[in-house]
Amino acid sequence: MIENRPWLNLFAHLALILGVAIVALPIWITFVAASHEAARMMQAPIPMLPGGHFWENLRATLFGEGLSGAETAPVWRMLLNSLVMALGIAAGKIAISIISAFAIVYFKFPFRMAFFWMIFITLMLPVEVRILPTYEVVSDLGLLNSYWGLTVPLIASATATFMFRQVFLTIPDEMLESARIDGAGPLRFFWDILLPLSRTNIAALFVILFIYGWNQYLWPLLITTDRDMSTVMISIKQMLEAAEQSPQWNIIMMTALLAMLPPVAVVIAMQKLFVKGLTETDK
């Protein structure tokens, strides 16, 4: 603040509070809807204040048979699938990216640049532009309706590889020379020096990739047909379809709340890492 203008500060705070309210409104309505009985949620106008059935709805949603009319597995099962998928994608992307960045930065070998560009190309080929043929490959490999199919095809990552490459390039050359004089081979250097030095970058990347994996939609939609393998994002869509016939908004909104809880909690709890990850992966 350069000059002291109380009315301007007040106005700024009011505008920000209004902005926060607008952004938070959908979540509030979701929370309210998740805390009322099904019957109350069928009369317009819907309530704006929370009701007393939150825990009851929570139990029904998590362990009940889901929504009547929607062929979905219990929500806990789908949350578990989402968790496995998110963790698998995050860990897989980090693991294969960090070792390829290590190879590309610290070794000089034939076809090095060819590999680099091959990885770069993945940046230009999101699932959306190669839907059918990728589905066919996964289907031919027998990976439909499996955790492998949900994770492995998504774990190639140009951005993660670039980020680690950037991190390694900022580590002074003398660190490698010193390690060589100390007698450390490549794998030992990677494990003892590089990995500990990239710790915060790994954590930041993990936060971003966890959210990315958790929120996947198109991919699980393509390759899961078995209701036991479906993720919570897919179930939301199925519930919305069922809601056309028998609206049970309290259960749907409770499911939505459960589905957004893990990534939102990660963002708020690890805000620093989240911001670091976001700004570093997008350059």
Binding site: M175, E177, I181, G183, A184, R188
Partner: protein
């Protein structure tokens, strides 16, 4: 313990030759300082001895062993880097122990060696700290400690003091010298600082554009520089150079003054006179028009031009003097050096 031998050592990157055949015989326990301006190839030379750069041609021997194709870790050397290259995520103790641990040394022996090094370097209180919690001088000492614990045959120093402030640099310079004497380990020390080179080295190797200009003791280099380059590089303030014409026993300065020629020559040559070897003398042949004075307390530096010419000259006078600007001062020359005008080589006395 072992000496080091360099035989016609050559380094090229593609078509660019960085080192043009370096020969050196370094005795066991000797401390050699390789000195030269940046880009002269001195760091490359050191890194070749360390095994961090491949040898294009020639041989490196440590003791009786040709080490050209050995990995750095197999050469029995230790190196101190300019930026110390301490592992930032390890404590001082872990930093020092890392190399020993990789070699599979027993825990007890590692602990004994680390403690021993910590005592020598007075690092005991800092053993469990991380590098970032240490001052510059302490980090420098940890880098030294990491070298000492290995009990290597050779120490290699790559400008280890250039990241320190001036005062600490002088102090650490003395410590390194004492330590090297005490441990008696053959050492190669690279620097661009000629004062550091003069004070540390048993012998100095002056490198210029990948060629050894001169290799000898500090006093030899000071008193009998082999070339204009060495003469200008060693000594502070730098030597004065004047173009002269030699006729018989006399060297004739550009303003016509005659000095006794310090060496036999004929025709054009370069005359060198150190600022501290010119003494005020009312009857002296060298006349300088005073322009600027620098008062250093113990000495006074007089900057000016050779009378009647544009040739700049510097003279160092003892104590506090205050000649006025614009005045002409006359000096008698003490020790003089004569170099070939074309090649810059020293002409025989």
């Amino acid at each position: 313990m072992a000496g080091i031998k360099l035989e016609n050592l050559i380094k090229s990157y593609g078509d660019t030759r960085i080192l043009h055949g370096i020969d050196a015989d370094i005795a066991d326990g000797e401390m050699i300082v390789v000195v030269g301006p940046s880009g002269c190839g001195k760091s490359t030379l050191l890194r070749m001895v360390a095994g961090l750069e491949a040898v294009t041609a020639g041989r490196i021997l440590i003791g009786e062993r040709v080490v050209n194709d050995l990995e750095p870790s197999q050469r029995d050397i230790a190196m101190v880097f300019q930026n110390y290259a301490l592992y930032p995520h390890m404590t001082v103790r872990q930093n020092m122990a890392y190399g020993l641990k990789i070699r599979g040394m027993s825990r007890a022996e590692i602990a004994r060696r680390v403690d021993e090094a910590a005592d020598i370097l007075e690092l005991r209180p800092y053993l469990d700290r991380k590098p970032r919690q240490l001052s510059g001088g302490q980090r420098q000492r940890v880098a030294m400690g990491r070298a000492i614990v290995r009990h290597p045959q050779v120490f290699l120093f790559d400008e280890p003091l250039s990241n320190l402030d001036a005062k600490l640099r002088v102090q650490m310079r003395l410590e390194i010298r004492k330590l090297q004497r005490r441990l008696g380990v053959t050492s190669i020390y690279v620097t661009h600082d000629q004062v550091e080179a003069m004070t540390l080295g048993d012998r100095l190797m002056v490198l210029n554009k990948g060629v050894v200009e001169q290799f000898g003791s500090p006093i030899e280099l000071y008193e009998r520089p082999a070339s204009v380059f060495v003469a200008g590089f060693i000594g502070s303030p730098a030597m004065n150079f004047l173009p002269v014409r030699v006729e018989g026993d006399a060297a004739i300065l550009p303003n016509g003054a005659r000095l006794p020629a310090p060496a036999r020559a004929a025709g054009e040559a370069t005359l060198g006179a150190r600022p501290e070897h010119l003494t005020p003398d009312e009857a002296g042949p060298v006349a300088v028009e005073v322009e600027v004075l620098e008062q250093l307390g113990a000495a006074t530096l007089v900057h000016g031009r050779l009378e009647g010419t544009q040739h700049e000259m510097t003279v160092q006078l003892d104590g506090v003097r205050a000649p006025e600007a614009g005045r002409i001062m006359r000096f008698a020359p003490g020790q003089l050096h004569l170099f070939d005008a074309a090649s810059g080589k020293r002409l025989a006395d």
